[in-house]
Amino acid sequence: MTAVQAVALIVVAVAGTAVVFTPDPSRQAIVASVFGLSLALLFFVFQAPDVALSQITVGTVALPAMILLALAKVRRRERARNDS
């Protein structure tokens, strides 16, 4: 194992733990996207560029965007319900 691979593993472990310990869901989505990016780097340094490419787009863009939009939708429903 090279030093870069070891560093990537440690970064992924730290980022994953940070996601778990982030309390607010909308902040969690942003931390999860950083975690997704670190996973992509991990896949890249372990010579899996195909997986890294999907991970960059899924983990750092699509998934956090969908989480944030779903949260916004839930909050809007709750606000609409409380108003009526």
Binding site: M1, P49, D50, A52, L53, S54, T57, V58, V61, A62, A65, M66, L69, A70, A72, K73, R76, R77, A80
Partner: protein, 252 residues
């Protein structure tokens, strides 16, 4: 269940999981010491047989294309499920639409709008490149389709709405998703008709390292790219109450 009960249950679960993982990790081959017969064979025969320099693409879209077909329909079913649920929900509850000013995602930030505008073209181009070069370099329909979806999401962030002439963008994306999913299945049927085996690579494989090579692999990449882009954009658009794919003039 009491807090104590939950902790005891969690304790048993965590210890069991840790034991299983330790057992599994102990049986792994040592680091970097791959010894799989299938992988070794494929890395030898993929280029001579299919003229595809990306062996990963040759596996996912050709040798094990059936797995990818299944995955593609999982994504298709998931997207349809999300769309059906959200559309029923919108029909049942008359939630007042957001006021016009808060609909604009970038109403206040010029920086976000400029950066997003500048990135739309390069990101869409990168997506097209990744889809079309899936059989040559890392990437392919799945990755490229997501990059294309991200590019069009950037267009939304830049304050513009997606307009496709007279076509309704939502219908266009539904068509893209459905045609992509059906396209891959049709390529499989083509193998059945022309080569006698479902998903068999029935087209000439062409010259190694040229853009049109690898037989059905690039076609399958294009189909999957269209499907993934359509599915992702439809889900995002539905979550945004379709503002992402609004038809007509951009209202301020």
């Amino acid at each position: 269940m009491t807090r104590r009960g939950r902790m005891v249950l969690f304790g048993f679960g965590a210890v069991g999981l840790a034991a299983l993982m330790a057992w599994g990790l102990a049986g792994l081959p040592s680091f970097g010491d791959f010894d799989g017969a299938y992988g070794t064979l494929l890395s030898k025969i993929a280029v001579p047989e299919r003229q595809a320099s990306s062996v990963v693409a040759a596996v996912t879209f050709d040798y094990r294309g059936l797995d990818t077909l299944g995955e593609e329909f999982i994504l298709f079913a998931a997207a349809v499920g999300v769309l059906v649920l959200l559309r029923i929900q919108r029909g049942e509850e008359d939630i007042p639409a957001e006021p016009q000013h808060s609909r604009l995602p970038t109403g206040r930030s010029l920086t976000l709008r400029s950066v997003a505008t500048a990135l739309v073209g390069p990101v869409v181009l990168l997506g097209l490149y990744i889809v079309s070069h899936g059989h040559l370099t890392p990437g392919g329909g799945f990755q490229g389709g997501l990059v294309l979806a991200a590019g069009l999401l950037l267009a939304y962030l830049s304050g513009a709405h997606l307009r496709l002439g007279r076509a309704r963008p939502v219908s266009a994306m539904e068509l893209s998703e459905a045609a992509g999913a059906a396209g891959f299945a049709l390529i499989g049927l083509g193998g059945l008709v022309f080569a006698g085996v479902f998903l068999e690579n029935f087209l000439p494989t062409g010259t190694f390292r040229s853009l049109i090579s690898g037989g059905t692999i690039p076609l399958a990449n294009v189909a999957v790219g269209a499907e993934v882009m359509g599915a992702t954009l439809l889900i995002l658009a539905e979550l945004l109450d379709q503002h992402l794919l609004t038809h007509g003039r951009h209202r301020r």
